[in-house]
């Protein structure tokens, strides 16, 4: 019952954060000095067309009213319409969302699958040659931006070997094989970098556990090293890793913006960049808000997982709620 209360509080605080974040997004676009309509039309536009656009977008009405309208639109899935084509934003974004969601989810899965065993292995073998080599490799992988890994993968597997397509996308429903072939390289590009970071966190979380008194107790009652790590290390280390992995999932969605542009995937990230270049502010505003919301939701889910996993946090919860 208490756990439910904690979850309810988390959700409430998520709603608060979403509200504040939406206000920040709206204010940055609309309340910063400089006229929205003038920005959209660019430096060489005439006052008449600016006035017309202001009229069409309803920019003369009070800021707060426009914010509330936009918020309502977000909740119903129709946050306004494009400043250029006039098309409803919901229908522009909808199909792109699936591409980005696939890209991010598959990258995260691949990243975790790569990182947890590797991190554990390099923690246990941290003083041996192979542990040091893994450590070094992760350092290098972390120093490389997503898009660069993407470019290198493209050169090797698409340009030189011609195993996979260099760019483009096929929906899962029309041809699953082609869908997969198009996603392999972008997913790998994100996963490699994310896994490198994750490996370091997993490694240091496990090294922390190895230094804990309870780990020594586990060894003293007769667990061999590796079983002790698995029985008593995994759960404790996973607490730390989950927090980090959550923050990473956020960074991964952002990484997908760049990688979509490398591989010309028709996802939210590509659409966002197109909108920025076309100065289509309503579309930019909506897509940024979607990304921000995804990040906040992920963080809340991570917090809830953390609370369910750690008995100490569960108890502390009761303390802080007072």
């Amino acid at each position: 019952m208490r756990a439910l209360g904690a979850i309810a509080r988390q959700l409430l605080s998520l709603a608060g954060s979403l509200l504040i974040a939406s206000f920040i997004v709206f204010a940055l676009i609309n309340a910063l000095p400089g006229d929205v309509a003038a920005t959209i039309l660019g430096p060489n536009s005439d006052p008449a067309s600016i006035a017309a656009l202001r009229e069409r977008m309803g920019l003369d009405r009070p800021l707060l009213l426009r914010y509330v309208e936009w918020l309502g639109g977000l909740l119903t899935g129709q946050p306004g319409s494009s400043a250029l084509s006039g098309a409803p934003i919901g229908s522009i974004i909808g199909p792109k969302l699936a591409v980005t969601a696939w890209l991010a989810t598959l990258s995260m899965l691949m990243g975790v699958v790569l990182a947890v065993p590797t991190g554990l292995y390099s923690a246990v073998r941290r003083k041996r040659a192979d542990g040091v080599i893994i450590s070094g490799l992760t350092q290098v992988a972390m120093a490389v931006p997503h898009f660069l890994v993407g470019l290198v993968l493209m050169i090797v597997f698409a340009v030189t070997l011609r195993w996979l397509p260099a760019n483009g996308y096929t929906p899962l429903t029309s041809n699953p094989l082609q869908w997969l072939r198009h996603l392999v390289l972008p997913v790998a590009a994100i996963a490699v970098v994310e896994a490198a970071m994750l490996i370091r966190y997993v490694r240091s979380a496990f090294i922390d556990v190895l230094n804990e008194d309870y780990f020594r107790t586990a060894r003293a009652v007769g667990w061999r090293f590796v079983p002790a790590v698995i029985r008593h290390g995994l759960r404790n280390a996973s607490l730390e890793v989950i927090t980090v992995a959550g923050l990473q999932l956020a960074s991964l969605f952002v990484g997908s913006i760049v990688v979509e542009n490398v591989f010309l995937l028709p996802g939210l990230g590509s659409q966002l960049l197109t909108a920025v270049n076309q100065r289509d502010l309503p579309v930019v505003q909506a897509i940024v808000m979607i990304f921000v919301a995804i990040v906040l939701v992920i963080n809340t889910v991570v917090d809830i997982c953390y609370h369910l996993l750690d008995p100490r946090v569960r108890a502390q919860d009761e303390e802080t709620s007072s």
């Binding site: 898009f147 340009v159 923050l247 913006i257 920025v276």
Partner: protein
């Protein structure tokens, strides 16, 4: 024996890039902006040490000037993040627990605004991106990490008895913050500065690559990669040079951070 290696290697790499940036103010082999289609895409030679790009511009000159932007954005962004984030963290860490938690909750909202998103927002609101918007965006997005690190560290300092001792002899809160809290959390903040620099430089490269940061007329490593991408089929080596420089710089800062962490954390020191 191995323990000091990351620190030394990191310092050398970072030092190297700093030297490049400084040199670029006084000397470049060619004008980095000079376009000459007749000498486009040349391989490295005596005149063009790293070759020329698709516009016939000298790559080495552009790398030198790019180092300047890269360091400028990195340092300024991290300064913004640290100057705002660390005081927030200390304030939260020195407040009573539930007040501190509330302060941190506010700071955490910025976690929802990664550098890239914030930069895109600023660029969109401004019409175009610039070095300034990139700096501000990266800086603001690094606030919560600084605040979190400073908060945890100062809370643990506040629980030590030397703070109680200072309070019991009438030392005020500001003096405690300056004399006890700040010096004791400085090591972790330094480590954070170093890794934040690495991340800031990655973000800057991504922004330039996407064209929402520093404008394409100014040479940046990220933009050089974008330009090289056009020739990926016929001249794949074009992407190698800016790629290597980005990686070296970030690697340098990451190693520096790791080295500092090891050097400053007594527990790790024994462990190594």
């Amino acid at each position: 024996m191995r323990r000091s290696h990351p620190l030394v290697v990191g310092a050398v790499l970072v030092g190297l890039i700093c030297i490049l940036a400084v040199v670029s103010f006084f000397w470049t082999p060619h004008d980095p902006g000079l376009v000459d289609a007749s000498i486009a895409l040349q391989p490295p030679s005596r005149t063009y040490p790293l070759g020329t790009d698709g516009f016939g511009q000298d790559i080495f000159s552009r790398i030198l000037v790019g180092a300047r932007i890269c360091m400028l954005v990195g340092v300024m962004a991290v300064t913004i993040g640290a100057l705002l984030g660390v005081p927030i963290g200390i304030l939260a860490g020195m407040s009573r627990r539930h007040v501190g938690r509330r302060i941190m909750r506010w700071a955490d909202i910025f976690y929802a605004f990664p550098a890239l998103l914030l930069a895109i927002l600023l660029a969109a609101a401004n019409g175009t991106g610039s070095t300034m918007t990139a700096m501000i965006a990266i800086g603001i997005s690094s606030i919560p990490a600084f605040a979190r690190v400073a908060n945890t560290a100062s809370r643990s300092v506040m629980s030590r008895d030397f703070v109680a001792a200072a309070r019991s002899s009438g030392i005020g809160w500001t003096a405690i913050a300056w004399r006890h809290v700040l010096p004791n959390i400085l090591p972790v903040v330094l480590v954070q500065v170093s890794s934040a620099l690495g991340r800031a430089i990655l973000a800057e490269a991504a922004l330039s690559y996407l064209g929402v940061g520093t404008q394409p007329t100014t040479p940046t490593w990220g933009r050089m990669l974008y330009d090289a991408q056009k020739f990926v089929y016929d001249h794949p080596a074009q992407i190698a040079v800016p790629a290597v420089f980005i990686a070296i710089t970030v690697l340098g800062f990451n190693l520096l951070g790791d080295g500092l962490r090891e050097a400053l954390d007594p527990r790790l020191r024994q462990e190594a």
